[in-house]
Amino acid sequence: MSDTLSKRPGPARSHAPHGTVPVRPLRGRLSFLARPRTLAVVLVLVLVSAFTLALSVSVGDYEVPLSAVPAAIFGYGEHLDVFFVQDTRLPRALTALGVGAALGVAGAVFQSLSRNALGSPDIIGFTSGAATGAVAAILAFGAGRLGVSLGAIAGGLITAAVVYLLAMKNGVQGYRLVLVGIGISAMLSSVRDYLMTRAELTDALGAQIWMIGSLNGRGWAEVAAVWIAFVLLGGVLFAYARRLRFMELGDDTARGLGVNTRSTQIVAFAAASALTGAAIAVAGPIGFVALAAPQLARRLTRSGGTTLVGAAAMGATLLVVADLVALRALAPTQLPVGVVTAVIGGTYLIWLLYTEWRGGRA
């Protein structure tokens, strides 16, 4: 030991972390670490989602040939092509992309803050609260589309705040956040079930479909809403991305490194909650994207920590693919996309756990 210590490092080989490449343009005035693998993963995901988007714009009862899609998007080509692409299919697909990206980023932030894969909005009660708020708005107040969205946002935010406050005790610890969230979710789900049994069948059915999460009939207003929210709130979160990676080392360590943990927690939690709320308001509480996308992204990128960009790309891809499946699987019947995300996401997570735990890792 003392031998190795007495040797001062001579021209030792230089160490950027494994799997990274230092990039220092402008004579080192700018410098950052590029992660080629992450870049490649994101690139592939972008290509896949772009292709899926084109496909979902093209297929349907009325086929728009793939070759005619790019022109139709900008309003050229046959009248019917333009109508189907611009007025119905494109906004729906763009909503899917935006909602998926928003859920992916928000999920990654929640997981980072709670240092726990289960810390996603699905588990900590946010989704459940939003669903309950929406169902209450529909069944108790007969609310319309806007009212339902507001009910969902209010339900989600209130539930998240309650869960967060209840989990607080000498600071918020990840496991406690998750467990309190599971408890509150279970309670809310039975409240919801109760409301369902007291409503007329048609109302209950409408509430049920909303509760599953669906993109049916989403137009340009929804596209604008979700993308504006994603740019603003996502922007805040991307600015906090580095701090969030340090939060994963534990509160004391992060503070020791000079991360302002309290303000990071509050800002990131608030922004991620608002982003989740926006996604839910637009599409309903689509399950599992927020839980699965960050986990999938971090395994694919092997980055040893959360990557917000990866999670966003993965979320967008997941949702746009799931929506295509929801549209076409039982055509002409349109399934709510939430059914597909739950089945696909859940199955993938099971497979993931199955292979990961085979090795005996905790």
Binding site: V191, Y194, R361
Partner: protein, 344 residues
Amino acid sequence: MALRAPSPPGPTRARRVARPTGLLLALAVLGGCVLLSISVGSKAIAPVEVWNALVHYDGGYDHDVVRSLRVPRTILGVFVGAALGLAGALMQGLTRNPLAEPGILGVNSGAAAAVVVSSVVLGVSGTALVWPAFIGAALAAVAVYALGSRGRAAATPVRLALAGTALAAVLQGLVHGVVVLNDFAFDRIRFWQVGSLVGRDIEIFWQVAPFLVAGIVLTLCMGPSLNAVALGDDLAASLGARIPVVRALAAVGIILLCGAATAAAGPIWFVGLVIPHIARIITGPDQRWLLPYSAVLGAILLTASDVVGRLVVPGAELEVGIITAIVGAPVFIALVRSRKMAQL
């Protein structure tokens, strides 16, 4: 189980006296709950008439209410409550995991999926639905447990919860997919999904009763083995406990209890989770006491919740599943807040 393992050391003298006394007291409370459950309801029936209905049945309307409505739901409440309390205690003891609970193991979603699929696809209806519910619940529990305890590491709370969440998501997706396409199935499942002791045919109870009783007896006999398991697999094995046998028997117990309870009353959250924790406060960690306490306290919670549900909204009834969820969640959260990381 002929296994003998040392009981956890040092029950205090006070506790040694308190435990049998407490159990008797709990049984007395349960008796009170049963009486209340038979005599209280939206239809006011004098206690004398209730008594007459039980011993001198005259076929009148009041007697019919008591005999065909209140008695069955009370019996159902006692057995289902005991089964859920026991199932929770068994799971928590076996996995050394304070969060293990039928609901978390995906039992409810398994049963719901089986009910929906069999009623829509196979056209099963009426009391026959109890079998798909039973099988669905049991399969889901086994699948989640197998997934959660895969590999060398133990089934930690997070692993079980993750596995349960994943499976529940898939099954829920399946249910949702079916119900949005089929209004009739939706109408059925929305009522099934609220755990309740009424509107369930007493026939259902008689069908599952043998399984419930077998599960309760089997589990109550497992106290000493679970005490050994509580010390960790390696230590338990060195004390002479046959771990694979214990695990297999416990799995049978869990399947019987969860499957039968869920089939009989629908999904009821939190009883299996909360009851063993309350019991542990009274008994300490000794499973030989914990199990019977869990059974009795579970029965008390369910019958009492059922009575409360009849009284809380005048002229209407709240299902017992809703009461237990609303009562159980705060208790659960208080538990989570009071526990240290090491105990989870």
